[in-house]
C-alpha cells in the first residue's frame, strides 16, 4: 500500500490487486451531517446529489452515464462523519474516473444552477418519503439518534435532514458549503485494483495537482458528550403490522481500542441463527419474529449499538423486552464461551477474506480509516485486531448494554387496518 500527499494536501492511497482487471476509485470527503449548522440540516446529503449534476467539462447527469458507458458503476453515500464517492470500472479506464472526480472538485459551481438545485431537492424529498415516511417502522433510526444524542449534539439530527431546512436552502448556501468543505486537503483518494501505481500517481498529479487547498478549512464540531446516556423510553403508534422493540446503547468511538470487542459481543448476541438472542427469543421462547443488534461506529463522542426485535403475533411484549435485556445482561455477567469466541473469529476471518477480494469495499475501508483514524493500513490488519479480542474484553464491552444506559423505543400498531 502506498500512502502519500500532494502539495495541496490531497491524500492518495494506492493498492495493487491484479486478481480481476478492475479498478476501484474512492474519495472520502471529511464532511458529514455532523458538520451542518442548525437550520441547514440535510445539506451534506443534498450536496452529495449535486455532485452528480455536472461541472465545467461534464454536463448535467452525465457523470453516471459516462461511467456506465465505459462499463463501470458508481454511487455515493452521506453519513454522520463523511461523504464518500466511489466507482468501479474496467482497469484501463482509471484515469477517466480520476479526471471526472477532479473536474467536479475543481469546478462544480460552474454547473450548479437553481434548476439543478430544485430538481435534486425534489429527488431528496422523494428519497425521504421512500426510505422513511412510507415504510413501516421507517422512522425508527431518526428517533433512536434523537434519543441517544442530546439536542444540539452534532449526531442528534438525521443525515436526511429536515425538509423545511432543505426548502430554505439557497443557491448561495450550497455554494458556501462547497467552498468550505470540498477541498483537496479535506479528501482522501484511494485507488485499488489492477493498476500501475506510477500511472495513477501521474494522473492524480495532472488532474488534482492544480486544485487549490482551502487554507481556512474549519475544525469539525466538538463531539464530546458531557454525561453518559440516561435511560429513556418512547412509544410510537403508527401503521405497522406488529409491535417492534428498538433499543440503542452508546459505545466507545471508532478510535477506542475496545470497540472491536463490542462488535464481537453484538455478533455473539444477534448474528445468525446460532446467536444468543435468536436462540432464546425466536427459537426457544418464540416471542420474536426476528432479532438484531449492530454497531454503528462513529468518529467521536460515542458510537452506537442499535437493536431490534419484532413481536410474534400473540406473544407478550413485556416478555420480549425482558428476555432481550436478560441476554445482554448475561453476556456482561458471564462473558462468552470459548466456542462462541472461536465461531465469531472464524466468521470474521471469512468476512475479511471476502473484503480483501473486493476492491470496491477495500478501497472504501482504507479511505475511511485514513480519514477518521489517520490509519489506512488498519483495513489490512483488521483480522489480527479481531483475533486479539479476548473473552474478558467481550464480557466487559457488553457492560455498555446496561439498562440504566438504554434507549427503548416501541412501535405499536395504531389500531386501524394494519395493511
Amino acid at each position: 500500500m502506498r500512502d502519500e500527499r500532494l502539495a495541496n494536501g490531497l491524500r492518495l492511497i494506492t493498492l495493487v490487486d491484479r486478481t480481476t482487471p478492475v479498478a476501484a476509485v474512492n474519495i472520502w470527503y471529511h464532511v458529514g451531517s455532523k458538520d451542518e449548522r442548525p437550520g441547514r440540516t440535510g445539506f451534506a446529503h443534498l450536496f452529495e446529489h449535486l455532485m452528480f449534476q455536472g461541472s465545467e467539462n461534464v454536463t448535467k447527469a452525465e457523470h453516471l452515464s459516462l461511467l456506465e458507458s465505459i462499463g463501470g458503476s458508481a454511487n455515493a453515500t452521506t453519513w454522520l462523519d463523511r461523504t464518500n464517492y466511489f466507482a468501479v470500472v474496467p482497469a484501463e479506464w482509471v484515469e477517466l474516473v480520476l479526471w471526472m472526480e477532479a473536474d467536479r472538485l475543481r469546478t462544480l459551481l460552474v454547473g450548479l444552477d437553481q434548476e439543478n438545485l430544485d430538481n435534486q431537492r425534489d429527488v431528496v424529498k422523494n428519497e425521504k418519503r421512500s426510505s422513511y415516511d412510507n415504510q413501516p417502522y421507517g422512522g425508527a433510526y431518526i428517533e433512536l439518534f434523537e434519543m441517544a444524542y442530546p439536542k444540539g449534539h452534532p449526531y442528534h439530527h438525521p443525515t436526511i435532514g429536515s425538509m423545511d431546512d432543505l426548502d430554505a436552502a439557497s443557491l448561495q448556501d450550497v455554494r458556501d458549503f462547497f467552498s468550505t468543505w470540498y477541498a483537496p486537503n479535506n479528501a482522501v483518494l484511494t485507488v485499488v485494483g489492477d493498476i500501475d501505481e506510477a500511472v495513477v500517481r501521474g494522473a492524480v498529479e495532472r488532474w488534482f495537482g492544480p486544485i487549490a487547498a482551502n487554507p481556512a478549512l474549519p475544525a469539525h464540531p466538538d463531539l464530546t458528550l458531557a454525561a453518559p446516556l440516561a435511560t429513556s423510553r418512547k412509544t410510537i403508534r403508527d401503521r405497522v403490522p406488529d409491535p417492534r422493540l428498538h433499543v440503542a446503547f452508546r459505545l466507545p468511538p471508532l478510535s477506542d481500542p475496545s470497540l472491536p470487542a463490542a462488535e464481537v459481543a453484538c455478533q455473539i448476541l444477534a448474528s445468525g441463527r446460532g446467536s444468543r438472542l435468536h436462540r432464546r427469543l425466536v427459537r426457544d421462547e418464540q416471542v420474536a419474529q426476528d432479532v438484531s443488534l449492530d454497531v454503528l461506529a462513529f468518529a467521536g463522542g460515542a458510537s452506537l449499538a442499535v437493536g431490534a426485535a419484532t413481536l410474534r403475533p400473540g406473544a407478550s411484549a413485556e416478555q420480549l423486552e425482558k428476555s432481550y435485556g436478560e441476554e445482554l445482561a448475561r453476556l456482561a455477567a458471564e462473558g462468552p464461551t470459548a466456542t462462541e469466541m472461536e465461531r465469531a473469529v472464524a466468521l470474521i476471518e471469512s468476512e475479511e477474506m471476502a473484503k480483501l477480494g473486493d476492491p470496491e469495499e477495500l478501497a472504501d475501508e482504507i479511505g475511511g480509516y485514513a480519514t477518521l483514524l489517520n490509519d489506512p493500513g488498519r483495513a489490512l490488519r483488521e483480522v489480527e485486531i479481531y483475533r486479539a479480542v479476548t473473552a474478558e474484553q467481550v464480557r466487559d464491552a457488553a457492560r455498555a448494554f446496561a439498562p440504566e444506559h438504554r434507549v427503548t423505543l416501541w412501535y405499536e400498531p395504531d389500531g386501524e387496518a394494519s395493511a
Partner: protein
C-alpha cells in the same frame, strides 16, 4: 468540450472462470469453476423441482421446506448445524426458486470437506421436526403480514399476480396465507421425497482450487452417497408457468389500473408490467440492451425523465426477469402522491418509446459497453460465479453462454432492440398503484384510466 478527456489504457484480458465437469457414481453432476486468488469458496447443491412445479394449494411448500432444511438432520440438529458451519468460518443456507431447492455455503476453501457432509445431511436426510414446522409456518405467516404492510412488497406481489393470474409465476414463492396455513410435516416430507428423486441434481462450486482435488473430495463425501437421481421425471413444465396468451386487458378501451388503497400514503408505488421473455428465447442479448436503454441505466429513458428531469421520484427502473418460461417485464417506481398521474403517464410513454423513437447510436453504444464492461465486475467473487453457473445449468443452457456473452452483446443492433420492444405484447400490460385512493382515484379516472380499487 474544452478539455480532451482521458481515454483508456490497453484493456486487460478477462475470461469467465473455466468450468470443469464430473459425475459421481451416484449420478450427481458436479461443475467446478477454479478462481485463482479467491480463497473464499462458494457452492450450492440444486435439487430440481421448485416453486414452478407447485399448484396453487401447494404454493409456498418448497420455500418452507428450504427453511426447514437448516433445522438439521440426524447427526446435527439446527443449533449443532449452525455451530459446526460457523466453526468452519462458513454459512449454510437453503433457498427455493422456481427451478429447484438449493442448499448453499460460502467458506474458506481449505475447510470445505466437512461442509460437503453438512450440506448432504440436510439436503438428503432433513429431520423436519414437528415443533419447528409449526414454528416456522407461524413465522412465515407473520412475514406475509409484514410484507402486506410494506407498499413496495404489496405492489410487487400484485403486479405479478395481475400479469399471470393463477399460474406459478404469478404467485409469491414464499406462498400466500391460505396455502401456507395448510402446510404440515406430511406435505413437507412428501415434497422432499419428490425433490430427492427428481433427476439431474447439480452441485456447483467456485473458488481457488484444483478441480480434480475437488472432485476427489466430493466423491469421498456424503454428497456422493445419497443421490440416485434416477426417479421418474416430474417435468418442471408439467404445469403451465404462464397463461397461454395474455387475457384481454379490459372490456373498454381504457387502460386499467388496480389501485390498492393505502390511506395516508405520502407516495404512490407504481408498477407497470407485461409478459416478458424466456431466457431460452432468441434475442436474449438484445433484450438486455433494450432494458438498459429503457429502464436499466441511471441514464435510462425512464430514470432520466422521472428523476432527473421531473424530480417525481428517488429512482425509476425497468427490466426483464429472465426465467425458463416467460418471466415478467416490470417497471417500478415510487412517486410523490400528487404527481401519481403525470408520473404514470410519463412512465408508460417512456416504456414504449423505442417503438416511435428508436435508440440512438449513443444509447446503443452506452448500453452495450455497460453490459460488456460490468461483466467482469459482476464476477469478481465466487458466489455470483457459482450462482450464474447453477442458474444457467438449471434451465438447460450450456455454460458457453457466459463465454460468448460479451461478443453477443456487442453484436446487438438497433433493429434487434426495436424488435424486442415490438414483441412486448401491449395487451398483456397491467398497472398497479399502491397509494392513497381518496387522493389519486379521481385524477386517474379523469386521465382516462379504468380504476379498480382494492382495500
Amino acid at each position: 468540450m474544452s478539455v480532451q478527456r482521458p481515454g483508456p489504457l490497453t484493456p486487460r484480458p478477462y475470461t469467465f472462470p473455466r468450468a470443469y465437469e464430473h459425475r459421481t457414481a451416484t449420478g450427481l453432476r458436479v461443475i467446478a469453476l477454479p478462481m485463482p486468488g479467491r480463497p473464499l469458496a462458494a457452492m450450492q447443491l440444486l435439487m430440481r423441482g421448485g416453486a414452478a412445479t407447485e399448484s396453487a394449494t401447494e404454493n409456498g411448500t418448497a420455500a418452507l421446506l428450504a427453511r426447514l432444511l437448516t433445522e438439521g438432520g440426524p447427526r446435527h440438529d439446527a443449533i449443532r448445524l449452525v455451530e459446526a458451519a460457523e466453526l468452519l468460518g462458513g454459512t449454510i443456507g437453503a433457498e427455493a426458486g422456481f427451478e429447484g431447492v438449493s442448499v448453499g455455503s460460502s467458506l474458506p476453501v481449505h475447510r470445505i470437506a466437512p461442509m460437503l457432509d453438512l450440506i448432504a445431511e440436510i439436503a438428503y436426510e432433513p429431520s423436519l421436526p414437528e415443533r419447528e414446522v409449526d414454528r416456522l409456518r407461524a413465522l412465515r405467516l407473520a412475514q406475509i403480514e409484514q410484507a402486506a404492510a410494506s407498499p413496495r412488497a404489496r405492489a410487487n406481489e400484485a403486479i405479478t399476480a395481475a400479469i399471470y393470474d393463477d399460474a406459478p409465476y404469478g404467485r409469491p414463492i414464499g406462498g400466500r396465507r391460505e396455502s401456507v396455513a395448510a402446510i404440515n410435516r406430511a406435505s413437507l416430507s412428501a415434497r422432499h421425497a419428490q425433490l430427492a428423486k427428481n433427476p439431474d441434481p447439480l452441485f456447483v462450486i467456485a473458488g481457488e482450487f484444483d478441480p480434480n482435488e475437488i472432485f476427489a473430495l466430493i466423491d469421498a463425501s456424503e454428497l456422493a452417497r445419497g443421490v440416485n437421481g434416477s426417479g421418474a421425471s416430474t417435468s418442471p413444465a408439467a404445469i403451465p408457468l404462464t397463461p397461454d396468451r395474455p387475457a384481454a386487458a379490459t372490456t373498454s378501451d381504457r387502460p386499467r389500473v388496480l389501485l390498492i388503497d393505502r390511506p395516508g400514503s405520502v407516495q404512490s408505488e407504481l408498477r407497470i408490467g407485461r409478459l416478458g421473455r424466456s431466457r431460452l428465447d432468441a434475442g436474449f442479448h438484445a433484450a438486455l440492451v433494450h432494458s438498459e436503454i429503457v429502464g436499466g441505466l441511471f441514464g435510462s429513458r425512464l430514470n432520466r425523465v422521472l428523476r432527473e428531469e421531473k424530480g417525481y421520484t428517488y429512482g425509476a427502473a425497468a427490466g426483464f426477469d429472465f426465467r425458463r418460461s416467460r418471466g415478467p417485464f416490470l417497471a417500478r417506481t415510487a412517486v410523490e402522491t400528487s404527481v401519481t398521474v403525470p408520473a404514470l403517464v410519463e412512465a408508460r410513454r417512456q416504456l414504449s418509446s423505442p417503438l416511435s423513437d428508436a435508440p440512438s447510436d449513443e444509447e446503443l453504444d452506452g448500453a452495450r459497453r455497460y453490459l460488456i464492461g460490468t461483466f467482469p465486475l459482476r464476477f469478481g467473487a465466487a458466489p455470483p460465479v457459482a450462482a450464474a453457473a447453477s442458474g444457467l445449468t438449471a434451465i438447460g443452457l450450456d455454460l458457453s453462454e457466459l463465454d460468448r456473452y460479451r461478443d453477443a452483446v456487442a453484436a446487438v443492433d438497433r433493429a434487434a432492440v426495436v424488435r424486442v420492444a415490438e414483441e412486448l405484447e401491449a395487451e398483456s400490460e397491467r398497472i398497479v398503484v399502491v397509494g392513497d385512493a381518496a387522493t389519486v382515484r379521481a385524477p386517474l379516472e379523469a386521465a382516462g384510466f379504468a380504476v379498480e380499487v382494492q382495500a
